[in-house]
Amino acid sequence: MLLLAVGAYVIAAARRPDGGRQVYGIALFVCIVLLGLALGHLLTGRAPATLTLPLGLPWLGAHFRLDALAAFFLIVVNLGGAVASLFALGYGQHERAPERVLPFFPAFLAGMNLVLLADNAFTFLFAWEFMSLSSWALVMAHHQEPANARAGYLYLVMACFGTLALLLAFGLLAGPDGGYDFAAIRAGTVSPGFAALVLALALLGAGSKAGLVPLHVWLPLAHPAAPSHVSALMSGVMTKVAVYGFIRIVFDLLGEPVLWWWGGLVLALGGITAVLGVLYALMQHDLKRLLAYHTVENIGIIFIGLGLALAFQANQMYASAALALTAALFHVFNHSLFKSLLFLGAGAVLTATGERDMERLGGLIHSMPWTALAFLIGSAAISALPPLNGFVSEWLTFQAILISPELPQWLLKFLVPAVGALLALSAALAAACFVKAFGITFLGRPRSPAVAQARETDRYSLVAMFVLASLCLLAGILPGLVVDGLAPVVGLLNGGARLIPQHHQPWLTLVPVVDVKSTYNGLLVLLFMALSGFAAAFLIHRLASAAVRRGPAWDCGFPDANPAFQYTAGSFAQPIRRVFGSVVFQARERVKMPPPGDLQPARLEVKLHDPIWERGYAPIAHAVVAISTRFNYLQYLTIRRYLSLVFGALVLLLLGMVLWR
């Protein structure tokens, strides 16, 4: 246990810019060690280990505690960290400004680990803010592009906002005389009104970090701005740390009393986030930004699960709550896997081609087949396709939704199916989006010369990606084991109630409630598919022809030599843009068709409006500017005016004194 904290500090200490390999090597090693420890702790189900260092608040010290919840998230964090470091062993060679990345990468990892281990409010927020800060530094690594600088600024301000919200929440939990220790907070009770306030603040704080709509605006700007292995960490892992914060506060620290409408609130937010996230993603042509928006979507799915769990707990339906929680945590795990994988893939593409804009990519499957395979697996997983892992967690979420009619509250009765519809919609749209992402990027023909010369990435990167890909597959076909692994965490958060143990189900089938109700067996699905597929291939090649002739594409008899004739990302998204975008983004399309005989190309102009930015954030910014401009003239007063200010203050106070009595 001591080694955990020590290890975290070792990472922090390892911020030496002498050669990336050492740093990443050390990071890799420490992450693996931590991973092993966390796994051991989770599986053996030992009692929570604690550690107190004489740091931080003097009369409190820095408490660290490792319980099941922390252990699970430690696994998520350090798995991602290890893989990212591994990837960076190769990827780091291409880094333009290593001195701006190396020092902060281990610090970032350390920050995330400390958040998970922290056991009092001060340490928690300290680590939380430290995490934001180091990731900010990483976002600013390529600060010479103005867009990145802006992204970093927005990111840090939103992070500060979130921290302040959490700070207020902890203030309420700790009470006026500052019982910041988590143990004290758990022991204490909060009045229902304050509890609701704490929930709202936790939503603001953790939500702004996790990218919950409408607090997501920074996310799609900041995540892509960082170097790709950092983007993988931020998107795949840091958002999970934020989810951890929410769970820790709402499920663990706040405890009872839970009101049913909390669940409804979180649920609705989750549903909206999921759909809006994927719609935003569909409108993007920047590969990494598309992925970042998908993080928003998946966060929405996770929060749907959490909201369901809250609703169930509020009605003492702990078995159902266990199902919902399992679904949410499972999705946390899954998303950390495939989102890291996808970002790493994007990073590989970026280094190979120097392009992030999908409109200039294409045909990479020929030049970098392995990356393409890994990315394909990731895409299939995030699109919730069986037999991969993304499907399992969404399936569990659906199962949890299907129990909802047993909820007594009418509002929830109606809300939950609606959210279910949103979830289904987002899943389907995600599939569409990743057909676009993979198809336009890797398939077809190269759209720019730089892409044509692309080479396959280095070994480290490939290994890193395939580790994740194989984990995606394993978690997909053996979900029962993961669910069992999650059981102690769920029990911890759910008053002991957990799902029935899965590992001795026949054929390792996943049986959330009872087998007549709903079952799923990824292993068999995979087996059947493999069998039938290979059988078909074998038979056909043996009995029928196996001959192949290469020729030009048929394409209904239109031989188009020019790759520009291919469908682009924009044109691929056009039908969906028409269907959804015109409502959500007021998407407007204008075709500029040159007059006949004119040789200049016809242009399609698409105008998209971001409703949340334009309605929510821009006004605030304008207000600040306006007010500060208004006040600014106070800088230019004459001394006499300043004197009269003092005079006025004096007279005012004296009057106040007279009236006070």
Binding site: A432, F528, D555
Partner: protein
């Protein structure tokens, strides 16, 4: 021993769907031809086509990648497994619990995913048209389907097809508004998913109207054969889905013995034939709609599904 028997039954169901699929397609084509006062090809024509295609060599576009060659097998496998998991003549078979209704829907999604990717692989304009439209349609069809699933599972308290079928058979469900809505939604989805009129036209090769055909435009030889076979499997799947959910009568239960199985099989075939006739009638009596009307069509399906679910609460709370 019993286990082996179960294996046999399961296997025979897999083979059955595989064998029946082209027949169904042929049947629908024939009925359509007759309705149009044509003689039309024989019912067995699809089999002949498949065999012919299988024997032909494959002409691959230069820009085709390994994905393009793997996709047909993947699609075929996914659809076959899905079709085999839908109870056809008997419910509660050995592996029926492998995947519930949601999983089956997702399997269809897998097939679609790879089909769309294959459409994009060559890098032609038509492939792109097909894929993007297909995904747009799917993005609406899948939620509608899932809403239908919600309705059923809320009604039957399960997402296992066999259990649903059993529930519909045993419990006195009566005529339920939500069931009707669900049926409607499912039918609309089925039409859209199988690229039938009015959403798409399986027979057209007119560039701007085709969706499914545009994606598979570049396929030839055995690959095309697999694609065609998968398409008919899909049609079969939806019809048997309709059959097993809304008309489960005559379906044998597991281990009911050979005779029961045979009866079930004949009734199943009859159901398929009937469904095919209905489909042909519908298709001949309606005109194809613009691509951008499809979203309204499917949006209606989605709304119906949702409405069905909500109405269920109303009727349940009584």
């Amino acid at each position: 021993m019993a286990l082996i028997a179960d294996f046999l039954v399961q296997g025979c169901q897999m083979l059955l769907v595989l064998l029946l699929a082209p027949l169904l397609t042929g049947w629908v084509r024939m009925i359509k031809a007759r309705l149009l006062r044509r003689r039309g090809p024989s019912v067995l024509q699809p089999y002949r086509d498949l065999l012919k295609l299988l024997r032909k060599e494959v002409v691959l576009a230069d820009s085709a990648s390994w994905l393009f060659r793997v996709a047909p097998y993947l699609i075929f496998a996914a659809l076959w497994v899905a079709a085999a998991l839908v109870p056809t003549f008997a419910s509660g078979l050995l592996f029926s619990w492998t995947a519930d209704l949601i999983a089956i829907v997702a399997l269809l999604g897998t097939a679609r995913f790879f089909l769309a990717l294959a459409g994009l692989d060559i890098g032609t304009s038509f492939g792109g048209i097909g894929s993007s439209r297909e995904m747009m349609i799917a993005s609406l069809a899948e939620p509608a389907m899932l809403m239908m699933v919600f309705t059923l599972s809320l009604l039957a308290g399960t997402t296992e097809l066999s259990s649903i079928a059993r529930f519909i058979l045993t419990a006195d469900v009566g005529l339920r508004v939500s069931l009707g809505l669900a049926l409607l939604a499912l039918v609309m989805v089925a039409i859209a998913e199988n690229a039938r009129i009015p959403v798409d036209n399986p027979a057209t090769h007119l560039e701007l109207t085709m969706v499914h055909e545009a994606m598979v435009l570049e396929y030839s030889g055995r690959h095309l054969a697999l694609i065609e076979l998968s398409a008919s499997l899909k049609l079969l799947l939806y019809l048997s889905l309709l059959g097993c959910i809304f008309a489960p009568w005559g379906m044998a239960t597991a281990g009911a013995g050979l005779t029961a199985y045979l009866i079930g099989m004949t009734i199943y075939v009859a159901k398929l034939a009937f469904g095919g006739v209905l489909l042909a009638l519908f298709e001949t009596s309606i005109a194809k709609m613009r691509v951008f009307r499809v979203d309204q069509f499917l949006g209606a399906a989605l709304m119906l599904g949702l409405l069905g679910t909500l109405l269920l609460f109303v009727s349940r709370s009584r």
